[in-house]
């Protein structure tokens, strides 16, 4: 096929002018786009309202579709569970007995802990979740790692709040609509979590790698302190994330650090809790949502 002749509208002066002004408008659009892009790189917070409205426009579709897939997925995995019910039953019984023994032990430790704390007169702060939501979507088309959470400002969610699931840390809120919010996942490359190794308490820094894993580096240079299977927990440094929330499990060592797999898998976690920032002052003076 010969190439199209290009946009040559013939002898009509009107058509020629409209083509020319269309071209000028396109150049103007390009310039406006570049300016907006520059603004969103320099000061991302200037678009908070627009992004919130866009999230709200999308939220009915996202939440409804996620309900449908959850139901369909539940049917499939439910049928799978029936398939080897007997074997699973035996396994679960053994696990149950084991857990019961451990709970007794843990209760004893808890009681002792309470007595010791009372003796030391340590005041214990109760941390209550702001809202509980479901992860209903993600940025599956982009190199950034965001997730969409089904709670928003109407539930009390604000930009900068940490999000966790039952298994561990999920990330922090960066955009809020009235019914949904966008979460910067732990595995995004812009998300840096101050943490430590649970065994031994060596301080480390966890940075996302963009592919669902995190890069973990010790703060002190020297011997590689990691072992495969180590659990990394938040240290509470910086005041955004509360301390002792599990972040990742080490799966591979490299020369001066390790690669970890986040313990809270956003595609599996059914519920996520939005919590207030650990030290409210941290969210106020450090403009955390700026880094995105």
């Amino acid at each position: 096929m010969a190439a199209p002749a290009g946009a040559r509208p013939g002898w009509s002066r009107r058509a020629q002018y409209s083509l020319f002004f269309g071209f000028l408008a396109a150049v103007a659009g390009l310039i406006v786009g570049l300016i907006l892009l520059g603004l969103s790189i320099v000061s991302p917070s200037s678009y908070q309202v627009v992004r919130g409205v866009a999230l709200d426009v999308m939220s009915p579709a996202t939440v409804a579709l996620s309900d449908v897939t959850a139901t369909a997925g539940g049917l499939v995995s439910g049928a799978g569970n029936y398939w080897d019910a007997a074997e699973q039953n035996a396994g679960l019984k053994a696990q149950n007995a084991q857990m019961r023994r451990e709970i007794v032990k843990a209760n004893a430790v808890l009681q002792e802990n309470r007595q010791l704390k009372a003796a030391l007169r340590l005041r214990e702060e109760r941390r209550e979740a702001v809202a509980t939501g479901r992860i209903v979507g993600s940025s599956f088309q982009s190199p950034r790692r965001f997730a969409i959470l089904s709670v928003g400002t109407s539930d009390g969610v604000q930009i900068g709040m940490p999000v966790r699931a039952a298994d561990g840390l999920v990330g922090r809120v960066i955009d809020t609509g009235s019914g949904t919010s966008r979460v910067l996942l732990v595995s995004d490359r812009a998300n840096v979590v101050p943490a430590r190794i649970m065994r031994g308490g060596v301080p480390v820094i966890s940075t996302g790698r963009g592919d669902g894993t995190v890069d973990i580096r010790p703060l002190e240079v020297g011997r590689n302190p990691f072992k495969r299977g180590d659990i990394i927990v938040t240290s509470g440094t910086g005041g955004l994330y509360p301390p002792l929330v599990p972040v990742a499990r080490v799966i591979r060592l490299d020369d001066d650090g390790a690669i970890g797999l986040p313990l809270a898998d956003p595609s599996e976690a059914s519920f996520a809790l939005v919590e207030p920032p650990y030290e409210p002052a941290a969210a106020a003076d450090a403009p955390l949502p700026e880094r995105r």
Partner: protein
Amino acid sequence: MVRTALAGKALNRGPVRGATYWPAFSVAAASLLSALPIVSLSGWWPSFGLLTFIAWRMLRADAWPAWWAAPLGLFNDLMTGAPIGMSMALWTAIMLVMDLVDRRTQWRDYWIEWAVASLLIAASAWVEAEVASLNGAPVRSAMAMPAALIEILTFPLAAFVAIRIDRWRLGR
């Protein structure tokens, strides 16, 4: 022969209502697909909005006036959560580049279109990676390359969809 023409559905078929707006509408709909409840850990899914946009531009130079690329791109940015202005600038630039390509190419076939589309997709992936690194999240090439490759391999599908919509809207 006259009878067969009467029996078929070939008579009284013309462009559907709003035929001018269907291409732009289909691009906006493709941008909206980012609302699908897919939770991916790698982000290797193709960007549906961009693919549909390039597919239409390959098919027709006059699918929409060139400046419509800016609002379409803005809509895509808002829906996918990309930095605002990125698709807006990128898509308008694609319209302008394609005008040049239309002028320069003597011959067009399936493979040339796919090659040009691949270049455009690769350039968009590169711009997206640069913008992400300016935003504090530098992209590793090991992550960006597979994503661009998947997008290039999905392009024929987007082209097929655009051709079907084009036939339907013109009533052919």
